[in-house]
Homo-oligomer: 100 residues x 4
């Protein structure tokens, strides 16, 4: 089952600068063979369900190992069976409507 | 790794009444040995990471099998290593502050 | 426009105990004439759009005044024009499907 | 109060193709003087709190007028008082950690 997801991981108890932790999770995603697309409020990722969710679990583990005692993640998860659709397809579809 | 999560599963392409699908996911969670707590905008659940996420995957599979061609889920996921905390603990902690 | 919403407010930079801040936001919601329903991962609230969103803004302001230098909120927002529906209606609808 | 937000608006009851509706909300944001950044799972936007939230309300109104009987939005909202930070700053901060 292909999944398109968006992860926003917030480590708590480590002060106000979260970027080191977000970068660590980006590396985890990349090491899992995924191609994360960072944006200002999260990270887009797509792939097989088990690959994506194993990487998410690994992000939590790595951030705890880095010293974050508490983590709060917000996740958007999309699956569909009517057709295959990539993240690039989704963006292109909106943009073609914007140009219309 | 213990996780406290909140699932809001939205099936698309099946009209406006989502409750049959939400109920099906509740059953999946219960069959997984979890104790889901339904609220007006999602479902609270807690347990071992792998149990919770296997049940989430099963929810997507079951809803697709029921005929939902597209599913969009919003998920809040919390883990912590500083201490053990249950969902009941979280609520009790806020309520004790409200009474103060 | 009637809205059913779910607020999960996370203050950052104030340590690991968030309950004092969550309780302060509950008070803001109540003072706005709303009836917040706390759960383990957020707070359900319903009412007129402008009332709900003015209270959300007030929550951010109050938590900053309490000393939280950074706040990250996750919000689910539902509106519908086909019929009126309360939070209690949503829960009852799922529960009737669970009993079926 | 400056806010950085991420909107994911899901219209229900209009079939599986959401892009026309997402594009309409992008136009609303642009007409409000904001500079939305579309990604595969939502839209980044930043500005004054009242401007951003008035535009969000207008998105719900416009999508209902277009025929969507039900709308479910997921929103991430960030405010901070310790320093000014733009969306570009947030991304640059993570990327500098990735290069390190």
């Amino acid at each position: 089952m292909h999944v398109i997801a968006d992860l926003a991981i917030i480590p708590l108890g480590i002060g106000l600068s979260l970027s080191k932790y977000v970068a660590a999770c980006e590396r985890v995603l990349t090491e899992a063979g995924l191609e994360p697309h960072l944006h200002a409020n999260g990270t887009n990722v797509e792939g097989e369900w088990d690959t994506v969710f194993a990487a998410l679990k690994r992000c939590h583990e790595v951030l705890h190992e880095m010293g974050a005692p508490r983590i709060s993640t917000n996740l958007r998860v999309g699956t569909r069976t009517d057709r295959t659709q990539s993240m690039a397809d989704k963006i292109a579809s909106v943009e073609s409507n914007l140009e219309a």
